[in-house]
Symmetry: C2
Subunit: 376 residues, 2 copies
């Protein structure tokens, strides 16, 4: 019954889906561990200590892969962000975040009752978060509050424009002001090389269902040595149980699939340059179709692409299906992931598509545009 909602035979352009697509090996592992608590068959007192399958080795390998001192598994990036805020902030404390942050970053600040200062982005059409603006906002906070914010958060690549921020420069600024620095790498770690140490990051949050090609919910929180005692504090009565993890977090097949996929991720991130090339190629060809414009920093450094498409909007006005023509025409060509009816602008990702598929995609848009133009 539920089958019909799935889109495995489609090219799915939805940016939140692109990096979470599984391969057949991952599907097999997920099925092997599908039963309730099956990852815990050989429980060793806590999830990260399990030796069969080797979760304990996974934790060590992840720390190496991400360049962090400590690693814990979370249910996702948002849960990692909440954990950091909850452990470092008291109600009323000030946090600085970038204005391109994911909504869940903002909601997490509400959850811990923090007071928020947002770093503004540059104006249309780039919407860039610059190190200068970040430092300006810190200075403004110090001026108003008399003290630095208790925590700084930066979105490595945001979900609106796919802009890659300068994490290294911003982490250096935060170091200067002695502010713990949290990098939300949900759209980067697992896709491209992210090394917490090299970027000067105190806390790194990752989303495995967004960017590691495995089923969710699963996330990773990388923690620098300095904060180990706060984050890995054990229960007084249960010395194997981490308080911040309530003992164990992702007691599910997702953890088993992460073990399976990690050795392949080195390769995956090595090849990210080609993903960027595909995105740039797609943008170039789309912009040549008519009044279509890539929004955000140019040229693209990430696969998430936002296009402003007044041209398609105009076409919809004259179409008997109105704005829905675009969604339906794409659907007919085995392409999905756009919001039905949306034509003024849209966000897509070309991540993981073959060159053949990218060209097919461009061809599909060309066909739709020309067909419609000829029908006028």
């Amino acid at each position: 019954m539920l089958n019909r909602y799935r889109e495995e035979y489609f090219i799915n352009l939805n940016p939140i889906q692109a990096g979470g697509k599984t391969n057949s090996l991952i599907r097999k592992v997920a099925t092997n561990f599908v039963d309730g608590y099956s990852i815990c068959d050989y429980c060793a007192g806590a999830l990260h200590r399990i030796e069969k399958p080797p979760v304990c080795k996974l934790i060590i390998d992840l720390a190496k892969f991400l360049g962090t001192d400590e690693v814990v598994l979370t249910h996702g990036a948002r849960e990692g962000k909440f954990m950091v805020m909850n452990l470092l902030l008291d109600p009323g404390d000030v946090i600085i975040i970038d204005s391109n942050r994911h909504y869940s970053t903002y909601v997490a600040t509400e959850g811990v009752k923090a007071r928020v200062y947002e770093v503004p982005c540059t104006s249309y059409p780039y919407f860039e978060i610059t190190p200068d603006a970040y430092e300006e906002t810190i200075k403004e906070i110090i001026k108003k509050e008399g003290t630095s914010p208790k925590l700084a958060l930066l979105t490595h690549v945001d979900g609106d424009y796919g802009n890659l921020t300068n994490a290294l420069e911003i982490s250096s600024i935060c170091k200067k002001y002695e502010i713990p620095f949290l990098l939300n790498a949900a759209y980067t770690a697992g896709r491209m090389k992210v090394n917490a140490k090299e970027l000067g990051v105190d806390f790194l949050v990752c989303s495995c269902h967004k960017s590691f090609g495995i089923p969710g919910p699963l996330g990773i929180l990388g923690i620098s040595e300095k904060y180990k005692d706060i984050f890995l504090k054990k229960s007084e009565k249960y010395p194997k149980k981490d308080i911040s993890l309530l003992g164990c977090t992702s007691r599910s097949a997702s953890t088993a699939t992460l073990i399976e996929t990690l050795p392949h991720l080195e390769n995956r991130v090595e090849n990210y340059e080609e993903e960027v090339e595909k995105a740039r190629f797609f943008v170039e060809r789309m912009e040549s179709l008519g009044e279509i414009k890539q929004i955000g920093v140019k040229p693209k450094k990430h696969d998430l692409i936002r296009l402003e498409t007044p041209f398609l909007y105009e076409m919809g006005l004259k179409h008997r299906k109105k704005g829905y023509f675009l969604y339906e025409e794409l659907q007919d060509r085995g392409i999905t992931g756009l919001t039905p009816g949306q034509t003024k602008w849209f966000k897509i990702s070309t991540y993981g598509l073959t060159w053949k598929q990218v060209k097919y995609l461009v061809g599909a848009f060309e066909e739709i545009v020309h067909q419609e133009t000829n029908n006028f």
Copy 2:
């Protein structure tokens, strides 16, 4: 590679596994939704609003199934307990919990820095949490603290002895003292009939990977009308996003499998009496084997069984494999789930086994005992 750790061809006696075993239909749905965010293909602004697949209908049906006013999905029972404590308690506030509670209950109290009073259980061999002891502890708190605890938690069936507590009577006591009442139904809801309204429960937490026969991590938190505003508070900037859920929780295949399984659960809980019969039969036959004794309240009202087995321990002392003989002999007969080496006592569950399997299990123990006895 990971295959070899799975035990699908075994009878798994581990109580945390028994109620989470999936059937082929659930495995199919899990595979359909295995990709990263696939449940969110048609996002409607929040997980519980998704219409394709019908998560929004699931929420309504779950509230009816569990007799609660409101329902939210969580990552598991422990996350539900933490959510309730985090929203209702300030650091230093007093919570009353039963001493048979899961370790994660205690760890969650540490996470919110609450002060804990534990209701003692009766002595060996019953370890029962009685309504009288619960009320006595409340009175003691009032005497010492000058006020009632801010929250009361009761474990419906505990994971050590499988004792079913009198939730109705204890909820009435809590009402009398105006204490919000949280019932941890991780070992009951999904196995047996649990109706929050009929039991006078303000908050009900359930574990789907423990007792709903689906993959984890997934839990349910039922909330009574009275606490709706606190628990379902929306973000100021994002009016569709629940703060306590950070927007969305279990954005995974687990949620899809819960949709699929819920219509079958009515039947599953209706047949629970037979599961209790199997447990009682098993206990009776085991106790007839020698110096073996069921610990906890008798007769069993739940499938989780704790046996004290000094008889098997004595056998191990004389065996060349020492205490490991039991684990290995069972393993040879396709039975797993005991801790290797453990013979003085163990916990098992007969949940979901057919009568034929229960009899096979009893036969296996009889065989091991007699074979070993004859070898002396």
